[in-house]
Amino acid sequence: MAHTSFKWLALLGGLVAGTAAFAQDSGPLIDALVKKGILNDQEAEEIRSDLQKDFAETSAGKLNISSNLKELKFYGDARVRYENRSGENGVAAVGAPNTTGLPGDLQERNRFRYRFRFGATGKLADGWFFGTRLETASGNRSTNVTTGNYANAPFGKNADNTIYVGQIYIGRTVEDFTFTAGRFANPLVTTPMVWDDDINVEGLAEQWSHTEGNVTWMANLGQFTYEGSGGTNNFGATAGKDWTYLLAFQGGAKVKTSSTTSLQVLPTYYYYTNTKKVNGFTALTTPNSATLRPEGLSVVDLPVEFGFKLGSLPAKVWVDYAINLDAQDRAAAAGKPTFDGEDTAWQVGFGVGQTKAKGDWEAKVFYQSVDAFALDSNLVDSDLFDSRTNMKGYGVSFSYVISTGVTAKFTYASADRKEDSLATYGSGDIGTPNLTNYQLFQADLSVKF
């Protein structure tokens, strides 16, 4: 008994002498010592108090976190980037004359950029959760700040240095269902061909995921506010403004076809409401705009991914095929009714490797071809092909994990205008509606925490 008691006391002594954080977990041990009669209640209380005082001296001990929370997590990342982006002013498309220079002119942008994002997520009782993320830059498809690009240079600041609320949402998980409301990361499984991954959508999402054997069934629904500026029914004679919504319907499955292979198929349908509204959008007859009217868009998208092992490395091949069922309306709205066949977009890609631990690497390559009226140019990736449709080309990237949480990434993309008779719809950083011979190089250093 004396020997056992000594062991208990030695363990407790170790706790007291050990880290304060560890000592916070010693309540059950103290209770056990009281039960065994090794400590009396008062002695136990004094030890508890001493441990609490030690813990109170630590940073964690000074935090007062709401008892409503079951879990609170902080996360974020910082990134510095060098980017070179260039594009040639192509032959003028009919109805989209060159206003920025002669055909053959090259515009080139060299930029040093940085971004910062900091978020918190929390879980409460009964499956409720919330999240927020603060980030630099005001753009919907970028969180980058460009160095030196200030009115009050040197070393000034501009609007992009401001910290914005990138995400703020609440939600609830009930068994296989997750419901989210607010502003949050895109809940749909997709590729950069259709959605820029910097976009945070606003509205509602309902997700369902259920695994049975080797099959995980999935459904993702979204009701997103696409545009909603101004009032809906102003006083006086002012015409009311209707909001535009983007509705997304996605359903499919991921099947484990063997211990090392899987196939995921998630057909998706995108539907837009009130697409002919004037407020907040630019008509398609002015193709060089980042806010083109989502007129004539009713898109069926089919992202397919096959995962497998290449040696010991994870690898995947993916195909994304999309067709706009209302392309004739979009072509007509653009004043190009004879180009109603420009309705298809596709991407095929291959990736190998992973970026989880120090020394990991990942390489990706893809080819993509997007017809002028196939996709919503307000949503497509802003970097790879400069936010445009009517482009075809390829991209490669290589990532290397220098240290846990620290990654270097290099990206190169090259594309040309697909149909020279049409403009390159959408607006990126190269200021022409007739973009061709586009090239992008990015070198990133990122820290994630």
């Binding site: 008062q42 209380e45 004094e46 108090s49 609490q52 005082k53 109170a56 001990g61 935090l63």
Partner: protein, 268 residues
């Protein structure tokens, strides 16, 4: 001149002796009955001592020790880490001393047909998951939940011990003290509340068993009653002067007999 100094010194000594006031703040559970009774007995033995007792909840007692506005802080709960941290920042060393044990009793109106509840049912009632007595075997009728207010140690102890730290039902009514809860439950046939053991002999109420057991000296001492807890005096380090003497008196055989008589479970 020498005479004047002697008289002045004598006056100061008398004034000092008459100014022996012990300030005690905090828990209503301790401060409504036990500590005033102890103070009366103590004063009878030490005529020069007076007491200022404010029983407005354990939080106020702990805050008073941190702020230095009381010599003893009564508490029916342990100090929170943030309170200990705030104390450390002011150079205050929060020292707890167990002065008695208590069991948080579940009380209902004496006309209730119920004799007991399970821990799960109690959690459901106080969190609002269950709102009608018929769901827990009682006569149909809306349940009226009475709790202590947020500065009460019993309020937070009960959340920890009985409610898995969940929130109280939104419809629950918050009372300033044990006696108010007893009064409301005695008036309301659909009422339920919780009070310290010292308040369970009031007319109009009855104590329910919890998982078949009642709170009493044996079950609390043996820690078999699920809502048993120690109660504390908090001081800034080792107490001194009158506070030390009063603490010693509280823990003496005489003091502990008073605690038992009032309704608490003595430490020995």
């Amino acid at each position: 001149m020498n005479k004047s100094l002697v008289i002045l010194a004598a006056l100061l000594t008398v004034a000092s002796a008459q100014a022996q006031k012990l300030v005690i703040k905090g828990s209503d559970t301790l401060g409504a009955k036990l500590v005033p009774t102890l103070a009366e007995e103590y004063k009878a033995k030490h005529p020069g001592v007076s007491f200022e007792i404010a029983a407005e909840g354990s939080t106020t007692g702990i805050t008073a020790i941190i702020d230095g506005t009381a010599a003893i802080g009564m508490s029916s709960r342990r100090a929170k880490t943030t309170e200990v941290s705030a104390a450390s920042a002011k150079g205050v060393n929060m020292k707890p001393t167990i002065v008695a044990y208590d069991g948080i009793a579940i009380i209902v109106n004496e006309k209730s047909p119920l004799a007991g509840l399970t821990k799960r049912q109690i959690e459901q009632i106080f969190t609002g998951d269950v709102t009608d007595w018929s769901a827990v075997g009682g006569a149909p009728g809306p349940i009226s939940v009475y709790t202590r207010n947020t500065s009460s140690g019993t309020y937070s102890d009960f959340k920890d011990l009985a409610m898995k730290k969940r929130d109280y039902a939104k419809s629950s009514q918050k009372m300033a003290g044990n006696e108010q809860i007893v009064a409301e439950v005695a008036k309301n046939p659909n009422g339920i509340g919780y009070v310290g053991l010292a308040y369970t002999s009031a007319p109009g109420i009855k104590v329910l068993t919890v998982d078949g057991g009642l709170p009493n000296k044996e079950s609390v001492h043996a820690k078999k009653y699920p809502y048993a807890r120690p109660t504390f005096y908090y001081t800034n380090g080792e107490p001194s002067g009158e506070a030390a003497k009063f603490l010693e008196f509280t823990l003496s055989d005489e003091g502990q007999k008073i605690a038992e008589k009032v309704g608490f479970v003595p430490v020995r």
